[in-house]
């Protein structure tokens, strides 16, 4: 059995080695490319899973990098290993799914290389315990997401979506970098465990700056308010990539960041409140947008944004375990939903749900697994989404403000509503598309079935999962057994309220014909939601202002050497003047 040091390095380097191999392989033998990608992804997943019994609470694997950078250190504790396993396992399922989905596509090498690079970087991000290293991995994941979202680089929409994702996540990267630099200035190293143990030693205002910087970083990465617009646009990517970004890698990074640094920022005034507000606003807004969207993948994208809102909300309310448990459930059922949506899109050749309908009979397996995923998303007992969402709501009830809890309840009802809407539109009713569809291919099934089984069963691991996260969780609560935890959820009054709201959402969809009057009254909200509540307009405004100011500044860039020299001399004079005055 290899040691944890070896395994931690292997789980990062194996996918990276695969990426390198795929770059070298050229695009001549597609079968070999598929096989290489699957082998390296699975090998990385095995290495990540093998870390489970060997997790530690102390820094390991350390290469000194000299004074300025600190050492390359990894901390494979429960939280880190959990997220590494999610990234590696769900990532490799997405790779397996790609074997069918990407069959016949050109430039497979570029596709798989970035996917594997992405998985390895995400594992590195969660395992690192050096904040500068975390930042580096953070930016690599941003780069990979850009490259994969723009994979169809002859489609202007895909390229625009990729650049949008890159720019918005860069805003968050600045928050993280600022936090890292502050940490270095005031602590003298980038070491995360040292920081978590002694956060109170930092000046309060610096700690507050770091806390809000990290919140911005997490919000941008996890597509939270007000940065949520990049994620739905990212749907231009091939569907397995969407599953990868939504379930396994990218968006979990923000939630991980908040969960990891929660103990340090807990006491910062207003920080928890800000986190709760970001989560609640996002969850509600995204749920409303999911109801009015007609693009299957966009509905799922909005639902991801909304569910990430639940996780962020749980962290703000102090329920770090609840957020991680929901992350686990969400990773499994959202990967399932995305991959089955990929199978549907692959078969129907459209993403518009108005052109689907009645597909259930032709693709029974996809219908069955997607219904399982949808029920979990809606929070129907006894699927994993039910338990984790109730746990989130309970944590919010205990530790968060009442208004946010009510918002989240409404969000849960809306979740049920849009879930049944898209399932109905895709699988039942009259066939509106003329295309002859076929059920999922063998590699797709290999990826879908384990995820469906996971959706049915991961909640049974609740107690073990808590025990597994162990000391990585703040607060020092004793881990409860699965049974006790489930009984606690099932008997909490909040659960019944939430179930009633979910049932109301379901009923609203059932009786949608009779609620037509109400729907008419809410049409204004729907129109606003279709326009993403004006956030796209804000984005466009920012872009236009940037372009116009650049045009206005164009006169200063004459490209004539003489003027440049003059500017350099003027700058020199200014600096000399400042030095002369400041030195006095």
């Amino acid at each position: 059995m290899p040691t944890i040091e070896t395994l931690a390095l292997l789980s990062i380097l194996l996918p990276w080695a695969g990426a390198l191999a795929l770059v070298c392989l050229q695009d001549r033998k597609p079968a070999l490319q598929h096989a290489t990608a699957v082998v390296f992804a699975l090998a990385g997943a095995v290495a990540a899973v093998a870390m489970i019994p060997q997790r530690t609470e102390t820094n390991i694997v350390s290469f000194p990098l000299g004074a300025a950078f600190g050492a390359v250190t990894f901390l494979p504790d429960g939280l880190a290993v959990f997220l590494a396993v999610v990234a590696a396992v769900i990532g490799s399922l997405a790779v397996i799914f790609s074997v069918d989905y990407m069959k016949g596509e050109k430039q497979l090498g570029r596709y798989y290389a970035y996917v594997l690079f992405f998985i390895g970087s995400m594992v590195g991000l969660v395992l690192s315990s050096n904040l500068l290293l975390i930042f580096v991995f953070w930016e690599i994941t941003a780069l990979c997401s850009y490259a994969l979202i723009s994979f169809y680089n002859d489609d202007p929409k895909a390229v625009a979506a990729g650049i949008k994702a890159l720019i918005i996540t860069q805003v968050g990267g600045i928050g993280l970098l600022a936090g890292a630099l502050f940490l270095y200035v005031y602590q003298g190293s980038y070491d995360v465990p040292t920081f978590l143990a002694g956060a109170a030693k930092l000046p309060a205002d610096v700690l507050a700056l770091m806390a809000f910087g990290f919140l911005v970083a997490a919000a941008a990465k996890s597509a939270q308010f007000p940065f949520q617009t990049w994620l739905p646009d990212a749907m231009e990517a091939p569907t397995p990539v969407s599953a990868l970004i939504h379930a396994a890698t990218m968006v979990n990074a923000g939630v991980y960041l908040l969960a990891r640094f929660y103990p340090a920022f807990e006491a910062v005034p207003h920080w928890r409140m800000a986190v709760v507000a970001v989560g609640a606003v996002t969850a509600l807004m995204a749920a409303v947008m999911a109801i009015v969207s007609n693009d299957l993948k966009r509905v799922l994208a909005y639902s991801t944004v909304s569910q990430l809102g639940y996780m962020v909300y749980a962290i703000g309310a102090g329920g770090v375990f609840a957020s991680q448990f929901h992350l686990l459930s969400h990773a499994v059922f959202k990967a399932l939903l995305f991959l089955s949506a990929g199978a549907v899109i692959h078969a129907a050749h459209t993403r518009d749900m108005r052109e689907m309908g009645g597909l259930g009979r032709q693709m029974p397996l996809v219908r069955n697994v997607m219904v399982i995923g949808g029920l979990a998303l809606a929070g129907i007992p006894i699927l994993n989404g039910f338990w984790s969402k109730e746990l989130v709501l309970e944590a919010g009830h205990e530790g968060g403000p009442l208004w946010a809890w009510l918002v989240m309840l409404v969000g849960a009802g809306l979740t049920a509503l849009y879930t049944f809407r898209f399932l109905q539109m895709v699988f039942w009713g009259e066939a509106r598309g003329g295309a002859h569809v076929h059920d999922a291919g063998p590699a797709m099934k290999v990826a879908l079935v384990p995820l469906a089984l996971g959706t049915l069963t991961t909640w049974l691991l609740a107690g073990d999962f808590w025990h597994f996260l162990g000391k990585a969780l703040p607060g020092g609560h004793e881990a409860e057994s699965t049974g006790a935890l489930l009984v606690k959820i099932a008997t909490a009054p909040a659960t019944f309220v939430a179930l009633a709201v979910v049932a109301a959402g379901l009923g609203a969809w059932w009786q949608r014909a009779r609620l037509a009057a109400l729907a008419g009254a809410l049409r204004g909200v729907g129109t606003m939601a279709s326009n993403s509540f004006g956030f796209e307009a804000i984005n466009r405004g920012v872009v236009r202002a940037t372009v116009e100011s650049a045009e206005a500044l164009r006169v200063t860039h004459s490209g004539v050497l003489n003027w440049n020299i003059l500017a350099i001399l003027a700058g020199l004079v200014v600096i000399l003047a400042i030095l002369a005055l400041g030195g006095a």
Partner: protein, 103 residues
């Protein structure tokens, strides 16, 4: 004692830098730009030697100066080769005419 060697060297540094910068400031001819750059770099080299002398690290200053001379020679050779190519391609050495940044 104002006519000491360091003082004269400092004057030389400032003079060379000034002449070089002035050359870059007023000329539009690519060849003359390279010449101006050379004069500028010579001023910098003299400054390096002077700095080595004043800080007591004569050898360090001279070693760096020699390194820069080698690098600088390569730079000027490449720049002149580029100038030849520019003249052949575009038929002019006027920087203003060569600039594509303007509208």
């Amino acid at each position: 004692m104002w006519l000491s060697l360091p003082f004269l060297s400092a004057v030389g540094v400032l003079g060379l830098l000034g002449i070089g910068l002035l050359g870059l400031l007023v000329t539009r001819n690519l060849i003359k730009v390279v010449v101006g750059l050379q004069v500028l770099v010579k001023g910098a080299l003299l400054a390096l030697v002077l700095a080595g002398r004043l800080s007591g690290q004569v050898q360090t200053g001279q070693a760096i100066t020699l390194t820069v001379i080698v690098a600088d020679t390569i730079v000027s050779v490449v720049a002149l080769a580029l100038a030849v190519q520019v003249r052949r391609q575009f038929g002019t050495l006027d920087l203003r005419a060569l600039s594509t940044l303007r509208r």
